[in-house]
């Protein structure tokens, strides 16, 4: 087994293998996640509302996602009259691209990443902001008033939330000193007290105060912004079904609609994966380090930890969605500009100060 791995990890074989694996892998991963997160969402919603959720198709309703997929694919795809047909068709394709690009640089395990990029974090944010363009295109091209209103909302919301998100990430970067995602995870080895969410408060290894004592707040801000960026409740103004029918996707039918849905879940996966690796130590074990001699099995174990943390965060997303009413969008903007941005600026300054502090003594 390990001989095969050793062969595969040789350059340049490794490069092509990785490329193919990545393409197939991410497509499958995004597809499976989107399908089964819908199932998790519906099942979770059911449990929160004390009903069973989907349970007719297969055991525990596990065959519901394929059934839904078949249904969506069987539906007629229509372009509304007066719509810009090209952009209308292009939008679903564009909306799925950014999260897939982001997945390329996210390390799911020690060596399990398609592309070990030095500026991985930058790439994630760069592509993360593009998906709003696709939503806007879709909303604008469908020539529907509800869709246009929704498109306008999406843009203002994303602009407002990009800023605090970047600010808190900069705070974190000041501590880590690198944009390489795998490197960031490597720094958090040792146990849960080494994860950034704890290390920021007190650095046990160095035995002095951490770089950012407000790191739980930072995490909260990051998570909130992540919800807002992915247009999830309570910030789901983009598809506020009781106001805007289905928001930007009102005119989409069949798989066009399905792809928007998939993109939403893919974005959640990316967001939660990012939160996991920035704050919760990525694939690091919560106690101690996975011994290096375990080799690939250790990596797989790490991947298990990563998924456990990530899916827990995703469950929280579902939990939040089925608990809160939707915010009004000026409240949302107020929250961003009046609370989140000042607070993240404060943490930024604080971190800058605290990082200098140990040097003074």
């Amino acid at each position: 087994m390990s001989a095969i791995f050793d062969y595969l990890t040789q350059e340049p074989v490794w490069f092509y293998v990785r490329l193919v694996l990545f393409l197939v892998g991410t497509l499958a991963f995004v597809g499976a996640n989107a399908a089964y997160l819908v199932w998790v969402e519906r099942k979770g919603a059911g449990r929160f509302q004390r009903r069973p959720g989907p349970d007719e198709a297969g055991p525990w309703g596990l065959l519901q996602p394929p059934a839904d997929g078949i249904k969506l694919m069987a539906k007629q795809v229509m372009t509304p009259p007066g719509a810009d047909a090209l952009l209308f068709r292009l939008a679903p394709a564009l909306v799925l691209m950014p999260p897939m690009m982001c997945l390329a640089v996210i390390p799911f395990g020690d060596k399990l990443l398609a592309c070990d990029l030095n500026i991985g974090l930058l790439l994630v944010f760069a592509f993360g902001s593009i998906n709003v363009m696709a939503l806007m295109l879709g909303g604008w091209a469908s020539r529907n008033k509800y869709a246009i209103i929704s498109a306008a909302r999406v843009v203002s919301q994303n602009v407002a939330y990009e800023i605090p998100m970047l600010l808190v990430v900069i705070t974190l970067l000041m501590i880590t000193g690198t944009m390489n995602l795998n490197e960031i995870i490597h720094q958090q080895a040792g146990g849960f007290w080494q994860w950034n969410i704890v290390r920021g408060i007190w650095d046990f290894q160095a035995g002095h105060i951490g770089g950012n004592i407000l790191v739980p707040v930072t995490f909260l801000i990051f998570y909130t912004c992540m919800l807002a960026e992915t247009n999830r409740a309570p910030f789901d103004m983009a598809e506020a079904e009781s106001e805007l029918v289905a928001g930007a996707f009102t005119e989409y039918a069949g798989m066009g609609f399905g792809v928007f849905f998939m993109a939403e879940y893919a974005n959640i996966v990316v967001g939660c994966a990012l939160a996991t690796l920035l704050f919760l130590g990525g694939w690091q074990s919560p106690i101690g380090t996975v011994p290096a001699e375990w080799g690939w099995w250790g990596t797989l174990l790490g991947t298990g930890f990563f998924f456990a943390k990530m899916y827990f965060l995703i469950f929280c997303v579902v939990w939040i969605r089925w608990t809160f009413p939707r915010t009004q969008f000026y409240n949302l903007l107020n929250l961003s500009w009046k609370i989140l941005i000042p607070v993240s600026l404060v943490t930024l300054l604080l971190t800058a100060g605290l990082l200098k502090l140990p040097n003074l003594f």
Binding site: G44, G46, R47, F48, Q49, R50, R51, P52, W319, I320, W322, T323, F324, I339
Partner: protein, 152 residues
């Protein structure tokens, strides 16, 4: 400072909400799994009407007085009677209910003069959904006979 407390209290209210829903998450479900489980239908349930089974067997209690037909607000009952061969009075020969227009109000039953047991009663049938309209046209005399045959 005021804003600060407001934010904190707001945050607290959000966490209270989350704690409530997560508690509900682990409670058992409260739904009835319809085709496999059914609810017990209460004794006074108002289904469609039918001719009451004569406790002594034999013909229906209905004397074809048409009180129910007159009382019905939706005009969905048609009653026809024939002279009894073995004594005075009439007996019902046709009793049709157009269930599609029935409003399940029970005024027909209240209007029925037959005592002590009324000649019509509510059934407890509720799963009458159908893809065609035929089910709505009910021949209650036929139904009476069928039920009687089943009983004996």
């Amino acid at each position: 400072m005021k804003t600060f407390w407001e934010v904190l209290l707001g945050l607290k209210s959000l966490f209270t909400g989350l704690s409530i829903t997560i508690r509900e998450f682990f409670k058992p479900t409260i739904t009835t799994h319809y085709p496999r489980q059914t609810e017990t239908i209460p004794a006074r349930f108002r289904g469609h009407i039918q001719l009451t089974q004569n406790p002594d067997g034999g013909a229906s209690l209905c004397i074809a007085c048409k009180s129910c037909e007159r009382a019905c607000p939706s005009a969905c009952i048609i009653v026809e009677g024939v002279k009894k061969t073995d004594g005075p009075g009439k007996t019902v020969s046709e009793f049709r209910l157009d269930f599609g227009t029935c409003s399940l109000c029970g005024l027909c039953i209240e209007a029925c003069p037959v005592k002590p047991v009324k000649a019509i009663e509510f059934t407890k049938r509720y799963n009458l959904a159908s893809t065609t309209n035929d089910y709505a046209d009910m021949d209650l005399v036929q139904r009476y006979k069928d039920l009687q045959a089943k009983k004996s």
